[in-house]
Every structure is written in C-alpha cells, then in structure tokens.
C-alpha cells in the first residue's frame, strides 16, 4: 500500500531531480580508475559512470559517490595524491560548493560562517568558544571536540567529520585560523 500511497500523494517529479550523489572529475580515465580503486579499498561505495555532456572536461568518466561521505572521500584521495580537478553534484547542472565567508565581530569574539556552519573564537586567547549551525549528526560531535580548545591545539574538523556539514565547518575553521593567526 505504501508504494501506491507514495505514488499518488507525491508531488510531480521535478524536471531536474535531486541527488544524494556527487561526482569526482579527473583529467584522465586512469586517474578515475585509480581513485575508484582507492575509495573501494577504503570501504566507500563508489561507481564509475559517464559524466553529463556539460561536465566533459577532457574526461569521459567520473567517480560517483555519496555526497554525505564527501569529507571521507576527499581524505582518502588526498592520502593517495589523487585529488580530483573538480567535485560536482551528480545531476544535470553543476553546483559549486560555497566559497564565501561571513564574519561578525562581537566584542572580543569573532564569528565566521561558511555555508550553514559557524565557528566563534575569543580573539584574546584564540580559544574556540562555540560551534553552531548545520544539521548532520557529526556537528554536535565536532562541537564537543572543538569547543574550549585553542585554535592551534584543536583537531581539524576534516580529521573527525564525515559529512558536508563537517566539511563546511572545516572551511570556517580554516578562515577563522587565517584571521586569528597567533
């Protein structure tokens, strides 16, 4: 019954569907294959597929992966020297991740936001006093690991996070570290 109910009550399928998948783009198919192998060895579920026409940048294959595992995927590829030339959402339109930051001064505190994640540091001692935003379940965990630590002693969010929220927090972390260098 559920499938019928779903069929009848769901809103019309959009022209361009949503996707939980991402694509890794490389300049050569050899690198695509090596990247796929590295990710499979790391226990990640990936697939090699043909890219949509507008994403053909000298390669005819991309590695498809779960966007929720983007942080882990990037980590594995960095360890093997297999960074892709581009990461995109696996649908017919290329989406770029956020690349802008919003900074807010609150007395001696600096809050930096990247996408949906915010990190706040006390400029006086460079201590992380708060982490907010996000919706994936590693956010409260990352906050527990970071809050109370001085920037230089805090673990990099990418070393502990496993989701896009975790990756966004890494971007905010990098920016706040750049602005509060010791």
């Amino acid at each position: 019954m559920n499938w019928l109910r779903g069929l009848l009550s769901r809103k019309p399928v959009p022209v361009r569907g949503l996707s939980e998948k991402g694509m890794l783009l490389y300049p050569s198919t050899g690198e695509v294959i090596r990247a796929e192998e590295a990710l499979r060895q790391a226990g990640l579920e990936v697939a090699v597929k043909g890219p949509p026409p507008d994403l053909r940048q000298g390669c005819d294959m991309v590695v498809e992966f779960s966007l929720m595992q983007e942080m882990r995927v990037r980590e594995v590829l960095a360890e093997r020297g297999l960074e892709p030339i581009r990461v995109a959402v696996a649908q017919d339109h290329l989406l770029e991740p956020v690349s802008l930051f919003q900074c807010k001064e609150l007395g001696p505190y600096l809050m930096v936001r990247a996408a949906n994640m915010k990190i706040t540091v006390d400029r006086r001692d460079r201590r992380i006093v708060n982490v907010s935003g996000g919706g994936c379940p590693d956010v409260p965990y990352l906050a527990d690991m970071l809050v109370g630590k001085v920037l230089d002693e805090a673990p990099e969010p990418r070393s502990l996070g496993q989701t896009l929220c975790g990756y966004a927090l890494q971007l905010a972390f990098d920016e706040v570290r750049r602005q509060c260098h010791g």
Partner: protein, 287 residues
Amino acid sequence: MSWLIVGTVPRAGFRLAWGPYALRERTLDVSGALVSVARGTPALMATAHVATQALGIEPPEALIIGDTGSGKGSRALYRHLVDNLGRAGHAGVTFHYLMPDIAWHNKILWGLEELARPPLLVADAGFMYAAKMSGYAAHYDLFTPDAGEMAFLADEIAPHPFYTRGFLLQEEARIPELIDAAHAGANAARHLLVKGQTDYVVAAGRIVAQVSEPDTPAMEPIGGTGDTLTGLVTALLASGMDMTEACRTAALANRYLGVLANPTPAFGVADLLPFLPEALNLALGDS
C-alpha cells in the same frame, strides 16, 4: 497531548533508547541512559522538557541513538522506528539531527501517514534536509530553518545547504522571496518558522507574523539556540496551541531567553535553561 522527539546524540556507543526522560541539571536521563546537554537533539529535548513542565503538561518522549557522523546510528534508529511505528501514535513527532537518507525517510513518512491518527510532523536539521530532498516537504506541518537553510529550501535542486546556489550570504534580506520560491517549488512544509535576525512565521506560503525584538546578538554564535527554538515550539504544540501562535510564541520566548540570560558568545545552552520558564511566561503574556 503526547509528543515524540527523534534524533541523535554525539556519542558513538550510545545505544538506542525510547521512552520518557528526565532532566537533572545539565544531564538528560533517557530510560537510564545519561547524556549531557550541550547542543543538538539533547538541547532540543532539555528545552522541550523544561517548557512542558512550565506549561504543566505531559513531557515528551524521546527516541535517540548515538551517531557521530557515520550515519550508522541514524540508520539503526530509522529501522527501529519503521519496525515499531505502532509505538509512534503520538499527537506529534519532532525529527531532528539525523543523517539525511531519502529511502528511510520515505518509509517513515509513509508509515506515519498510514496510522489511524497521523501525528503532526515537525522537522529540523538533517531530517528536514531529507524531507526536502525526498520531494515530500509539503507533507510536513512545520519546518524550522535558519536563513541559510531557507535558501536551501528555495533552491529546487540543492541536495544540501553546502551546495545551495546563489549562497551569497544575503539571505536575511531575501527571506520573503526565498519563502515564495520554496513554497512555489513544493519544497516547504505547510508552516515555516524561519529563525534569523527577524523570525518569520509562515502558513501556506504566506508570512503571518514577524518577530525581531528583543534582539540579543550574542545568541547567534551560541550552538543550540536554534535547537531551543525548536524545543519551545515542540512544547507549545504539545500543549495544543494553534500552529502559527505556537511559532510566534516560541520565537518570542527564545528572544526573551537571550534578554534574561544576558549571555556572552561563549555561553552554552545549558547556561540558558534556568531562564526558560520566565522567558516562556513573558512570551505567553505578550501573546
């Protein structure tokens, strides 16, 4: 009216727990399993508990599990909920920090909608992301996005706020048009409580209330102040209050919380909780 809160706690080994819970100072006790209140679902649970006590109504139940980001805990919780949907016959359910997973989301939504008395459905955080991605956003009674998440709801193809197109950090000024776009694309719940510099209460795509005072800027960086808002609206809905009035009152109470606690950006949610009953009373008095 009984209510169920569904979410995760940031501890890998925390086993699934489902039942009523108690709050002792800064610690939640869910059927003997202890979890400290910092941010995320524990912050929502603590707020809802304190608020329901202040309102003199039955406190909510919680269904929680440990998940530090792998999604393993979330999927175990989804499976357990699908296998025990008969236990979810509450007046309402609030879904919170969970790994977005469309397949499990759909099973849960369809299962809840098939109950003899389907509960009111509130979604925030990761489960709201899944609800939007699934194409079933309009089946929900309430979403509680912040300004950035509102831009995500408005972008019909964004799979996560991280990939929202046109994320130019001007969402606060654009919220009315983002609400229109999300509603037009059927990517919004029937009601929205958009939290930001101004909080917007939206019913069927129309802004019915705005709350911008009192303003305490130090509340924004405090992790969990969005969770307190969702906890407040959960408690008010559990009291039987009308949806738009519950949203407006919750927004106001969260703002009074800031005034009464007078926090610095280094405060935690647990530091705010002692002020919550008075904040709620003030908001109810204004309503």
